[in-house]
């Protein structure tokens, strides 16, 4: 028969939300239900046993809950860092258009892509520091003109936009892309500059 302390720990760990004292009492069949004071005392004991551990028991407005103390956020946050996914196709296409057609307005990007642009994409690109507003087109509404930044060039290890494959070769991009993939596989990320097509 598990101890009261272990049962409370189990229930709090399994719960997905804070639990009020009454809710904690309800997990016991009536015949075995502890008194409220007993429960409170055991909860205090449990809280004390977490000294120096990776978990703490606190009481918030909606009840008791177990949480990971703030001290551990440097490690815990790296858990999600390690799980970064990749950017959406829409974002990459938008970025590609800004790179090759800059300065460009949002409306122009939408016209080429044939779909309207979700707000998040331009925000993400700006937060990442890869694009910035460089002016406004003098048409009704004065839409912002976007261009790439130095940070963008740095990330891709480019000295200037001229090092990118020329847009004129766009029809050849399939070939270039395959070539790049091949080289990227062969080379380490350090040799990014070496991935430029030799005739570019």
């Amino acid at each position: 028969m598990p101890t009261l302390k272990a049962i409370l720990e189990a229930v709090l760990l399994a719960a997905e939300e804070p639990l009020e004292l009454d809710r904690l009492l309800e997990v016991f069949p009536e015949s075995e239900r502890p008194r409220r004071e007993e429960l409170r005392a055991t909860l205090a004991e449990l809280a004390g046993s977490y000294e120096g551990r990776g978990v703490e028991l606190i009481e918030v407005a909606s009840g008791f809950r177990l949480q990971v103390p703030k001290t551990f956020s440097p490690w815990v946050s790296r858990l999600w860092e390690a799980r970064n996914s990749s950017y959406s196709r829409a974002l990459l296409e938008t970025l590609a258009l800004i790179v090759y057609r800059q300065p460009i307005t949002r409306g122009e990007i939408e016209a080429v892509r044939g779909v309207s642009l979700s707000g998040g994409i331009m925000k993400t690109l700006q937060e990442r520091g890869w694009i910035k507003v460089v002016g406004h087109r003098e048409v009704p509404g004065r839409p912002a003109l976007y261009a790439t930044t130095h940070a963008f060039l740095d990330y891709f290890n480019l000295k200037g936009l001229s090092e990118l494959p020329p847009l004129a070769a766009a029809r050849d991009l399939e070939h270039i892309g395959a070539e790049l993939d091949r080289r990227l596989l062969a080379a380490s990320s350090d040799s990014l500059t070496a991935t430029e097509p030799s005739d570019g």
């Binding site: 177990l66 949480q67 990971v68 999600w80 990459l92 258009l97 892509r113 494959p165 990014l192």
Partner: protein, 262 residues
């Protein structure tokens, strides 16, 4: 339908057999229905009949089992339970086995034929093994029922995520796609002025008759090219959606016909 043979003797009280259900043991009228629906198929029903009578699966009395099986089938049909085709296939098989067993034995032995029951026994056993495996699986401790992931809340979900990496190749790949699509979109916009879907809807309706069916393929003019075919198809779909025409196909892969709805 005689179901009394299926009903066990309920109990003996002071030596007196009870053949009627005690009044306090009320079985709801649809209990039998639920009971029959609980079978997972003909093999399951057969295994049930075999187990209930403690029969050896290697030596099934085919005649008796066939009779009981047929009784159940008749009952299910009487209750208008939807009977899967597999049940009827099994009934036919059982009947066949029964008739083959009635053949004179010398013929059986000389032909070195297998016992006609062998294949049935094999399938029953095979199914029984997986029934047992399913039970064993169900008995394993599992999340949500026996085990619960232990979780503690995070005070604040850290937002400092490292942004995803991007390769130059990916970027060029994206550019190729968007340019290819831009060409398509551009051409489409020009074509749309010539062949609007609305316009084509009117043309299709004009060509159709409310009484006679027109072959679906007659609506398309190959000389209009790919875009023309697409616009016509869109027009037909739009007309269908607006319930202005109906499509008829006699059987799968048969020609499709179309007529105006009145």
């Amino acid at each position: 339908m005689d179901t009394t043979t299926e009903l066990p003797l309920f109990a003996k009280l002071h030596g007196e057999p009870y053949t009627q259900l005690p009044r306090d043991l009320y079985i709801p009228p649809d209990a039998l229905e639920i009971f029959l629906e609980a079978f997972e198929g003909p093999l399951d029903l057969l295994l049930y009949l075999i187990r209930r009578q403690n029969l050896n699966i290697l030596d099934i009395p085919i005649a008796a089992i066939t009779r009981q099986y047929m009784d159940y089938l008749a009952l299910m049909q009487e209750l208008r339970l939807e009977l899967a085709a597999e049940y009827l296939v099994m009934a036919a098989w059982l009947a066949e086995i029964k008739s083959r067993l009635l053949l004179p034995s010398p013929a059986l032995v000389e032909a070195e034929e297998e016992d006609p029951r062998a294949e049935l026994v094999r399938r029953l056993q095979e199914y029984e093994r997986f029934q047992q495996a399913a039970q064993a699986l169900d008995a394993l401790p599992r999340l949500e029922r026996d085990l619960f992931p232990a979780k503690a809340q995070l005070i604040e979900r850290p937002l400092a995520r490292v942004p995803p990496p991007v390769s130059l190749a990916e970027l060029l790949d994206a550019l190729r796609d968007v340019l290819a699509r831009a060409e398509w979109v551009g051409r489409h916009q020009i074509q749309r002025e010539v062949l609007s879907v609305r316009e084509r809807m009117s043309q299709v309706l004009e060509r159709l008759d409310a009484l006679r069916f027109t072959p679906f393929t007659a609506l398309f003019r190959p000389e209009e090219g790919r875009m023309g075919v697409v616009v016509t198809l869109l027009a037909v779909l739009e007309l269908l959606r607006e319930a202005l025409l109906e499509l008829v196909q006699a059987e799968p892969f048969a020609p499709i016909h179309v007529r105006r709805r009145v």
